[in-house]
Point group: D2
Chain length 299, copies 4
Amino acid sequence: MTNLPGGVLAPVATVFGPDGEIHEARFRANLDFYADSALDGVVLLGSNGEFATLSTEERKRVISLGTEAIGGRKTVMAGTGAESTRDTITMTKYAAEQGVDYALVITPHYYKTRYDAAAFKNHFLKVAEASPIPVLIYVMAAYTGIDMASNIVIDLSTHPNIVGLKDSGGNAAKVGEIIAESAPNFAVLAGSANFLYAGIVLGATGGIVALGNVAPQQCADLYRLAKAGDHEAARQLQLKLIAPNAAVTSRLGIAGLKYALDHVGLNGGRVREPLLPLTESEASYLVQTLDKAGIGKVA
Amino acid sequence: MTNLPGGVLAPVATVFGPDGEIHEARFRANLDFYADSALDGVVLLGSNGEFATLSTEERKRVISLGTEAIGGRKTVMAGTGAESTRDTITMTKYAAEQGVDYALVITPHYYKTRYDAAAFKNHFLKVAEASPIPVLIYVMAAYTGIDMASNIVIDLSTHPNIVGLKDSGGNAAKVGEIIAESAPNFAVLAGSANFLYAGIVLGATGGIVALGNVAPQQCADLYRLAKAGDHEAARQLQLKLIAPNAAVTSRLGIAGLKYALDHVGLNGGRVREPLLPLTESEASYLVQTLDKAGIGKVA
Amino acid sequence: MTNLPGGVLAPVATVFGPDGEIHEARFRANLDFYADSALDGVVLLGSNGEFATLSTEERKRVISLGTEAIGGRKTVMAGTGAESTRDTITMTKYAAEQGVDYALVITPHYYKTRYDAAAFKNHFLKVAEASPIPVLIYVMAAYTGIDMASNIVIDLSTHPNIVGLKDSGGNAAKVGEIIAESAPNFAVLAGSANFLYAGIVLGATGGIVALGNVAPQQCADLYRLAKAGDHEAARQLQLKLIAPNAAVTSRLGIAGLKYALDHVGLNGGRVREPLLPLTESEASYLVQTLDKAGIGKVA
Amino acid sequence: MTNLPGGVLAPVATVFGPDGEIHEARFRANLDFYADSALDGVVLLGSNGEFATLSTEERKRVISLGTEAIGGRKTVMAGTGAESTRDTITMTKYAAEQGVDYALVITPHYYKTRYDAAAFKNHFLKVAEASPIPVLIYVMAAYTGIDMASNIVIDLSTHPNIVGLKDSGGNAAKVGEIIAESAPNFAVLAGSANFLYAGIVLGATGGIVALGNVAPQQCADLYRLAKAGDHEAARQLQLKLIAPNAAVTSRLGIAGLKYALDHVGLNGGRVREPLLPLTESEASYLVQTLDKAGIGKVA
């Protein structure tokens, strides 16, 4: 692994038991499966890992469990962003100590009316300076309301310890602009399987895709077809993955992702409230969509 | 104090020292001042209290310090909302133990694409059931992106332990609709001094207003003039307070509020990053605006 | 009538016949009724007058029919805004020739990414210079996506021929800010019955309210109670009017307004496509809401 | 030309003279140049053709002038959408009579709170039924506020006279979803040069791109490289065109496009108010951006 992250990573679900606590054995079992899968790595504590409803102690536990379970077999990235700069630095250092390869730092977002270019630059530069491991910027506008402007990303890309961006917006023009104007060796990763192929043809180094949790082989195949220049096969696969991807992300959220995990033979289980489980009709729509795309048992 | 919260409360700033940690003596000094002021109460851990960048331990410390400093002289409300339902309940119980009078529970907001009416109702009902103290719903769309629909608030108003709403949006139609259709004894509080008077004439019981931190007497005067039916005086005072209110909230944010605190002789100090201090021109605009509105030394 | 417009005006519906053309006799009949009602005036070619789907010729016809039908018995305002500055001027001059008292000029909105303060100021100043009659600015963010910033309105308020603002947003803080800082003799009119009372207590001179089409007496009563200082009666009436107002505006739109017109004995009739008529369940919700608020036959 | 529109079309600027009227000779000269260029066609009365500020008579004149000037040498598409269904049909029929090949029909957008799936379907189906020529749906969310949902487009794609979509949003996931699920022989065209390459690899048949006005050869080259499978060359050209494309669209709008037209030796001239000309610093930024991308004299 070099400093330039790429390939296909899954932002893994955090698995809870019936008591609502992290179910360590089941979480480890999923990770063990991914470590031997076609994926290039995992992301701990992404949005799909329900980081937002985990306590600080739980976030640390996910990091230590996760790095141990992967055991160096794949790249491990971890979401270490908090609302404050200082808590972000603390968690990033903890992740580095535990052997995490990259820190994925979400844009702070609560006091959004005052987070201008100066505030974002100061935040990410301080985190990057303090971090023992390379940092990626994480833009997730659908949840944070922050669609960080391209020129801020481009400016930050010149820092040697800010090595990439995960953008979940799917805007081809923005991805293209950042690839065109960012520093060399700055990696752009697609934040969803629905624009993995378009991202790669523009120059993205890969993707961090929720669908990789339940269809790791298909997502990895899409990446490899695109990189190999087998464009018509890649296009066909990309189009096929759009509906199941939407089902486990924008349409049904994490409850959909976890239902799908159970469906394919991995560990999903319950979501943490205020998230609610799928309704029956949502579940049946999901299963139908997975079936139609040929996504079934993996384990 | 009855179950129906009202009057004018200030969402107090959390005071940090030069080391970036909570400065207990200065925080206490502010609270001691407010306890003897014209205000009806304080809110700990509101958005202006920078709750979003405080750790769980710090939040607890603010609650215990705050209740102790006020010492029963005024109503104490505390922001106890977290992204997860369970952490919200834990913090609400802690607040109750420490003697807080009301829990102010912000709408969860991260996984917003899945937070529908069912999710919000389940969240607030579970918190209300578990809480030893009365609960108010806190809607702060500018920061959270969640402008909870009136009908959800109206439905929740029928729960005996959900006693009110703080809405920071300033939409007179929405405030009117909720007052018209919510359960009797459900209190609506204006979330900003800029619509305190309009809110009161529609039936709001008062307000939680950032400007109360720096101009407690004027804010309390506005409330009392409006309640006493001295409408022309209330109107004139309301119009006068709009510019300084904007300066310490929407225009300059918490850095503006803290600068103004220092300016009037209370303790403001630094903001926590990623928030940045005022620029020189912002500071000079602020001072000019306060001067023009006759807001000066209070302590 | 002075240069300062006020009181309660209804933005009248444009009545179409079964052939989809303007039904002149029915339109005139409505206007004749309003001319003898408690209203202070009418607005032709407002959003509720379906100006956006009328051709230029039809707009002219509505103006000539409307001024003739009112015959000087009430104030007549007309929506004369078009996307281009020059077409706005042409229609404004036409309205003046026909005896219209005030031109209500909506913010241009199509090329919104380039409509900055300079573009808006240039537009409204050129229209005001060219217009033989006083001009009001019309802000209707829900339809146009343009919520013109307060400071632009405040700057424009100093022009002697820009005499007022109709704002349909209902934001009490914004209304207050504009009243506080605009030129003397600049009239602010509430753009919806749901904040007519709150607007008046802050200093609005009245309102242009769709509900005035179907409940002219109640809307006029609300205005007069508020102006007379009978605040508790005004408050009660305001709260009562919120649900029927929402029904004929934000919830059901012009199809709701026209259904309600027929219901109260005036002429409503069909909407012009792409607007569609109410569904059965919408119609039954509407009738129930009107009944509950005591809004029934007027003619 | 078949029923499936594709290739690269320029949405041509409407040229005004010093008197603010359409300058027919200069407009014709531009079209004559495009008719012999590498472009596959032109679009009259697109957003970049300032259709929104043209009168009905002027729109007709642009259509008759445009079809005559092109004289069958290239595909001619025309924007025929109006806010009302009936005016859209009238203009579409006129365009057909004048020899226009395709009608590009923008989503109606003024009464947006009532434009649901039923309203949009009714509108487009009625227009398609009445139109003598094939119809394309035009989604332009940045100007209209309407980002029509994929499923509505997909449903409409089954009508034999609705043959395509121009989407200006650049969202790769949405473009992919529509390509995957729309009827066979439904053409998706990229609405901006900044995602022309990404669109084509996903299956778009081409694009309607403002940049084609000033850099027709480069835009056509990009299309042909992508179709020919010369992906690395296409990618490099795509990245190079992003900055000049942004300059003449999202950043500087039509004033930028027209300044650029003059710069490359075609006819640009003034914009119609309320649009304003470029400031000096905008103009100098534009020229620098064009130079850097190698976009210079074409005529």
